[in-house]
């Protein structure tokens, strides 16, 4: 973009994608991944999965956010405005998640089957769901970027989180972990289908979100973000894992390497989608456009 084009044409956002801003899509995805993995691990009763989810949220997500901040040592101030700021609400949910999960793991390991284990599972599960969903709400709040201002976005982030979470459990299962591989494969397939449907709905909504939304969607489908979308999301993230996992689920022999590739593809799907959405977000011009600039 030339300097004279700034805000006289559709102007892509840059602060959350370029330079240190590259850590924002990573932080958002790691949060969804960690929350999704925790919830999936709750379902499959995998303590290891819950612990890894805690590490992902605390280490990868937290670390990414701190690297992105201009003044990370002031980050403690970010909890003070939950009444209006989604970043405040998200940070509170993440802190709750990081605090509740160790307590829940303690009860699950030393006192399984007690009422306290159930209580902390519910509380940590709710915090995990919030951790998964709040990036979508954070972006959804920005009505200046029609591509992000969609009610489907939080649900899409939750779906990507669940997809990545079940992919990690699939990795654990393939490598000999104590999880029901058949059920995980089935869950993967279902989540892949749900994710595809949500992506279709999201893109359809974006195409009807005015000229800015349409322009941003073109960026994803045909523009700068199209390689990420078509390769990362569609080919590697959906088609490849669906093929490998469906073959494995249907009893055909699929090598561990292919199954692991499928699982990795599911993780790449969510990450690529998050990156493509953040990269393609654009602002409407401040002055009326001439038609050839549309």
């Amino acid at each position: 973009m030339k300097p004279y084009e700034w805000m006289t044409t559709y102007t892509p956002q840059q602060e959350w994608i370029e330079k240190r801003g590259i850590f924002m899509p990573l932080a958002f995805y790691f949060g969804s991944l960690g929350g999704g993995l925790y919830l999936v691990s709750l379902y499959f009763d995998s303590l290891l999965g819950m612990f890894i989810a805690w590490l992902i949220v605390g280490g990868l997500k937290g670390g990414s956010h701190l690297i992105d901040l201009g003044r990370p040592f002031r980050s403690w101030r970010m909890v003070f405005r939950p009444q209006s700021s989604w970043i405040s609400r998200g940070l509170i949910l993440v802190i709750l998640f990081l605090g509740l999960v160790p307590v829940q793991l303690f009860f699950s390991y030393f006192f399984p089957g007690t009422i306290w284990e159930s209580i902390f599972k519910v509380l940590a599960g709710l915090a995990a769901l919030g951790t998964c969903a709040y990036p979508g709400f954070t972006l959804n709040y920005v009505n200046a970027i029609p591509l992000w201002n969609s009610a489907v976005l939080p649900i899409l982030f939750i779906a990507c989180g669940f997809l990545g979470g079940i992919a990690l459990l699939l990795v654990a299962g393939v490598l000999g972990g104590n999880v029901d591989l058949t059920m995980i494969e089935f869950g993967s397939l279902v989540l892949l289908i749900i994710t595809v449907m949500l992506i279709i709905v999201y893109t359809w909504c974006a195409s009807h979100a005015g000229p800015s939304g349409g322009k941003a969607l073109k960026e994803i489908l045909k523009g700068r973000s199209s390689p990420i979308f078509w390769l990362g999301v569609v080919l590697v993230g959906i088609i490849m894992p669906f093929t490998f996992i469906a073959l494995g689920y249907n009893g055909m022999h699929v090598s561990k390497l292919l199954l692991l590739s499928g699982a990795l593809g599911e993780i790449i799907c969510g990450l690529s989608l998050t990156y493509a959405i953040l990269r393609s977000g654009a602002y409407s011009p401040l002055i009326p456009l001439s038609p050839d600039k549309l």
Partner: protein, 217 residues
């Protein structure tokens, strides 16, 4: 209580960038940081082309999206409508920059960048860093020259009427395209211009209710 606002006459604006430079000088803004800008665009097709010159700045919106977005409370709205940033609280998350539909905020990252590289800071830059010690890693933006307004109100001067109480960009304009005053006062020049000249705001569909209006007559 006053609510400070601005009216910009697009027919009078000649695109000289004096407002942009006056702001830079007034606040000793670092390199690459602009609190006001002049956008130049075209509309129409040959032979019916219109050149448009839009001076833009922070709109100090009544329903500012940036104020709600800020997780630390660094961005706040004063009673007089001016949206300010407390640089000591800003954590540099740039969520306010995402939320602003007008993109009138800047992220200050390179405190060591000089206007004349490898030649050290000029005396003006040294004075500027003492008077306006911007903090690296924080977001900065136009503040309607709030220091001038506050200092002058104590002396009984009137913003928009007395030069010392009026933002630098308004005073600098050679074609008197900018007006500043109290939007809550129906007798002020800005209120009169808004009602008589059918002033419009930028992107009213975002619901921010900007305090900067534009007129074309």
């Amino acid at each position: 209580m006053a609510r400070w606002g601005m009216v910009i006459n697009l027919n009078r604006c000649i695109g000289c960038y004096a407002c942009m430079l006056a702001c830079k000088q007034e606040h000793f803004l670092p390199p690459d940081i602009f609190w006001g800008r002049v956008l130049i665009g075209e509309s129409g097709k040959y032979p019916a082309v219109t050149k448009q010159i839009y001076p833009v700045l922070c709109n100090h919106c009544a329903e500012a999206a940036c104020v709600d977005a800020c997780p630390t409370g660094a961005t706040s709205k004063r009673e007089d409508g001016i949206v300010i940033i407390d640089y000591d609280k800003c954590v540099g998350c740039r969520y306010c920059m995402m939320a602003c539909p007008y993109q009138q905020r800047s992220f200050y990252t390179n405190g060591k960048k000089e206007y004349f590289p490898k030649q050290g800071l000029t005396e003006l830059e040294v004075i500027g860093k003492q008077l306006y010690p911007f903090q690296e890693g924080t977001v900065v933006k136009c503040n309607f020259c709030v220091e001038r307004i506050d200092a002058s109100l104590k002396r009984g001067l009137k913003p928009g009427i007395d030069r010392e109480a009026t933002p630098a960009c308004v005073i600098a304009c050679p074609s008197k395209a900018r007006y500043f005053g109290d939007l809550e006062d129906p007798t002020s020049e800005v209120s009169r211009l808004i009602s008589e000249k059918k002033a419009f705001q930028l992107h009213p569909e975002f619901g921010t209710n900007p305090s900067v209006y534009y007129i074309t007559r």
